[in-house]
Amino acid sequence: MVFVYYLVNLIFALIIMLPMYFLLNRIAGSTLMMGKMAGRLDMDFFFELLIKQYTTLFSLRGLFLFVPLVYWLFGLFLSGGAYTIFISDVKYSPSVFWSRSAKYFGRFFRLFLWSIPVFAVFYCIQFIEIGVERLIYGSDPYQNIIWWGAWIRVGIGYIGILLYYLVLDYARIDIVINDETRTRRALWYGIKFTFRNFFKTFILTLILFLIGIAALVIYNPIVDSLHAPSGFIIFILFIVQQIYMFIRMMLKLTLYSSQVSLYNSLTPKEDIAELTPVASKEKVTLN
């Protein structure tokens, strides 16, 4: 299953990367400038690329916007299969995975559409900071207030985004476990569950988020220190990058699995007793 996630991520990224690769090859593939890029990014080249190839890059904007959106929806699609595997606690089987992904995608997509206002609310909570700032410091605060306020807003924005992900995750778990077709109900359940068990649910998601940031902090200095690497070093760098992404996918699925476990442990027994027939039925079917 991890391979599926990883390959999907790689393929979608390649869809964006390949046009850039061909563009770079065409404009500078056989130049010493490109040879220098084996070391550090030459800013002369970077600026010339942006300015002289602006029209070409601009024409690719649709790709840059559309592909990530499709990837995100595809992730939504795959989560149906992933959650089913974890909920049913069975070994991965392609037929089960893909069939369940297809089964739940329609509901997940509707869930996503219903969740957009929820996202808007969670994300916009950060702007309360502006109101608080005005209340305390007036309409003309010093720049240090504005600066720190902006960071606080970014932080609250991130919390809002992570909360939204949590709500979506638990709503999807609810849909799979209960075979729920009423997506609004599932959304509401996701909201209730998340806020009722906020700290436990939030920590897991936060860990995944922080690992992503931490990897960047480690990755960038390493790449920057490689001024003129050989072909072998470049290859190793590529492998390290892909290992990182593979581990990320693993962590994502670990998160799903942990969320399912948490859901099961936090959901009251009487609720589980109600749910069990459905889960058992799923188990029987899968077996």
Binding site: A13, N25, I27, M37, Y158, I213
Partner: protein, 696 residues
């Protein structure tokens, strides 16, 4: 015995006398450094609530020309902000310097009275004029018909009362925001009489200023608690007992006077060489005070060491208030404005760049008082070039503008990037308001001169170029230099620095004692300046093609080897000798001139086994083909291998390799792939970008 009253009167008279003497005795220079044509004694009071200046000005103007003068022309720059019908506002159409005027933020200046010392009223003799366009609504220039002509050598004195309102917020360099005032171009200012006519342009969106040198005595009355910074030296502060204080300033041999006031300034002081430096910081930027001070010291030190003495004893650096950035990044005699933001990282050296740049204007705009309306490059361009040189020398050439998160950008790269976005819209020399657009004004005033002067420096050598700049700075200070003056000095110094027999031998040159204008000559640079300044020609050389084909070595009887002739001449060279080899390669390198700017270039050809050849080409024809027969293949060719020609608009096409540079391509692509993979999987990462709109 005198009565108490008499004693009091005598004491009061003595104090008054002492005060007047203080003003009269304060002398900065033992002898005048400049012609001192336009001299001002100004008394101004600031009304904070109305943003209003009530001023009285005594102007003493000398006719130092050989002409009889019947009128005087004055600038009233603040009338550019009077309404939306001024030439400035019509050209602007919105915001300037990242500022937009408040709805009620208009400003103006009105002359309420103009008289001779005798009391003769001249108000009826003034009339607004429009020397640049037919805009009758523009009131930024007026002329005053004199009742009596002025003969050469005459002087004239006017007493002018004026009232002015500053725009809000500081907009296009001047204005007010809450408690902060930056007051520039605020008084009726005489134009320049030069070349037997008045040079007094209207205020345009893309223009700066032009004025004569003189002596300024300015009394500024502001609230008692306010700190004042201004051109020149402060001789006295007098508390008026009514909540206000009057600051007395004196400046000699300057051609402008600006001032600022705020109760919130935090002062930092320092000294470098013989110059006292005063930095006025905003309270929320005060932690950057030392950074500003150090940058100012670097600026003063380098300019004095490289370009000659800065004759004034002091420099004031002003940090504009938040939301008053329109007053930032500007220069006035002995006073400059910088601009920063809270949280500016140390690796982003914008503060240093701005301060070094704005101080440099004290040389290239102030000491060398060129006409910024008509030849903006002489100030902005030369200054951008010297700023670039100083920053590279002091902070290094790598990442001297930005060095953050693994990204390194230097000042020159940034100038190049801006230049290539519009290199051929206009020739460099053009009236400031007549460029294609604001971007073209910026490119031709700042970036293009930086790049062509750097190119010239690399061509002549740093020592020669420094001599040119220093000679220009020292010889023409306190005058109004023009482009031709700069070119003449450049030719003079270059001719002295490069003896005729060491001039480029590849280029045709005259044999006479006076060097002819021969292309590529280092003794006469007219061929260079005619392209750089008076045309919109772009410089772009490229390696168009490179290949190796196998040829058989001569064998047998009557064998002659021939290759195709080229229009530029047969270029076949015997390269690397290897008598044992039976295989030879015909290596072909085609170099093209894609732009219309012609410049001598070097071409470096690299063969297998590491052998290198450097060729020189005068760059005149549209192309040049190099042919080599060698036992090894060529692997790459580069035009301008040492990157000495930053004026080249496309450096990516300067080289070609026979094989694709796979390692670079793969690394770049892999890096890009990784980032795409990361961001599509973690799109919330982009939320970090929401930080920036919040603070700007």
């Amino acid at each position: 015995m005198r009565s108490k009253l008499e004693v009091l009167i005598i004491v009061w008279l003595m104090i008054l006398q002492n005060h007047n003497n203080t003003q009269a005795q304060l002398k900065i220079f033992p002898q005048p450094l400049s012609p001192r044509i336009a001299n001002y004694d100004i008394d101004v009071k600031l009304d904070l609530k109305k943003r209003m200046l009530n001023g009285h000005e005594k102007v003493k103007w000398f006719n130092k020309s050989n002409d009889v003068i019947n009128e005087l022309q004055f600038h009233l720059y603040l009338n550019a902000f009077r309404n939306n019908k001024s030439t400035f506002m019509k050209e602007l159409g919105g915001s300037m310097r990242l500022s937009k005027m408040d709805k009620d933020g208009w400003g103006f200046i009105d002359v309420t009275s103009i008289k001779f010392p005798s009391g003769e009223d001249l108000l009826s003799k003034i009339e607004f004029i429009h020397p640049d366009d037919d805009n009758v609504d523009d009131k930024t220039v007026f002329h005053l018909l004199l009742p009596k002509s002025m003969q050469p050598g005459d002087s004239i004195i006017f007493n002018i009362d004026f009232v002015a309102v500053l725009p809000q917020p500081p907009f296009a360099r001047t204005g007010a925001k809450e408690e902060y005032f930056f007051v520039g171009q605020w008084f009726p200012k005489v134009g320049v009489y030069i070349d037997s006519k008045w040079n007094c342009h209207q205020y345009h969106k893309n223009s700066e200023f032009f004025a004569d040198f003189g002596v300024y005595n300015v009394k500024i009355t502001v609230p008692e608690k306010n700190i004042v910074g201004a051109t020149g030296l402060e001789s006295e502060v007098k508390n008026n007992g009514d909540g206000t204080a009057t600051h007395f300033y004196h400046a000699e041999d300057v051609h402008d006077f600006a001032w600022t006031t705020s109760p919130e300034f935090v002062e930092f002081k320092g000294k470098v060489q013989d110059v006292d430096i005063r930095v006025l910081m905003q309270p929320d930027h005060a932690y950057q005070g030392t950074r500003h001070l150090e940058a100012a010291k670097v600026a003063v030190e380098y300019h004095q060491n490289w370009y000659g003495d800065y004759p004034y004893p002091n420099l004031t650096v002003v940090d504009p208030r938040r939301d008053a950035g329109g007053s930032g990044g500007m220069e006035y005699p002995t006073l400059i404005t910088a601009g920063t933001t809270y949280g500016l990282p140390d690796g982003l050296q914008l503060v240093e760049m701005v301060i070094i740049h704005e101080f440099g204007h004290n040389y290239w705009y102030h000491l060398l008082a060129s006409n910024e309306f008509e030849e903006s490059w002489l100030d902005e361009g030369i200054n951008s070039y010297t700023e670039n040189q100083i920053i590279a020398d002091h902070y290094g050439t790598d990442g001297n503008m930005l060095d953050c998160l693994g990204i390194k950008i230097n000042d020159l790269q940034f100038q190049c990037a801006q230049y290539i976005s519009g290199p051929d819209l206009d020739p460099t020399i053009r009236n400031a308001w007549q460029y294609y657009n604001g971007g073209s004004y910026g490119i031709n005033s700042y970036m293009k001169p930086t790049l062509f002067l750097t190119t010239l420096q690399n061509y002549l050598g740093k020592e020669t170029m420094q001599k040119i700049m220093r000679t220009y700075s020292e010889r023409l200070r306190f005058k109004h230099p023009k482009t031709q003056d700069f070119i003449s000095i450049a030719n003079e110094v270059a001719a002295q620095s490069v003896p005729p027999h060491l001039d480029e031998p590849e280029y045709a040159k005259a044999q006479s004692s006076t060097p002819a204008v021969s292309f590529g000559s280092k003794q006469n640079l007219d061929w260079f300046f005619s392209q750089a300044l008076y045309s919109n020609a772009t410089l772009d050389y490229s390696v168009d093609a490179i290949k190796s084909t196998e040829v058989q070595k001569e064998k047998g009887f009557d064998f002659t080897f021939s290759t195709e002739d080229t229009i530029a001449g047969k270029e076949i060279k015997e390269g690397i000798e290897d008598k044992d080899s039976t295989t030879l390669f015909l290596n072909e390198i085609n170099v093209r001139r894609l732009g219309s700017f012609k410049f001598p270039v070097e071409v470096e050809i690299i063969f297998e086994q590491g052998e290198k050849i450097r060729e020189k080409w005068d760059g005149q024809e549209l192309w040049k083909k190099f042919r080599y027969i060698t036992p090894v293949k060529v692997i790459s060719a580069t035009v301008d291998p040492d990157h000495k020609i930053p004026l080249d608009v496309n450096y990516s096409n300067n080289s070609k390799t026979v094989k694709t540079q796979t390692s670079g391509l793969v690394k770049l692509s892999a890096h890009f792939l990784f980032w795409v993979q990361f961001i599509i999987d973690m799109p919330e990462f982009l939320n970090l970008l929401s930080f920036f709109p919040s603070i700007f």
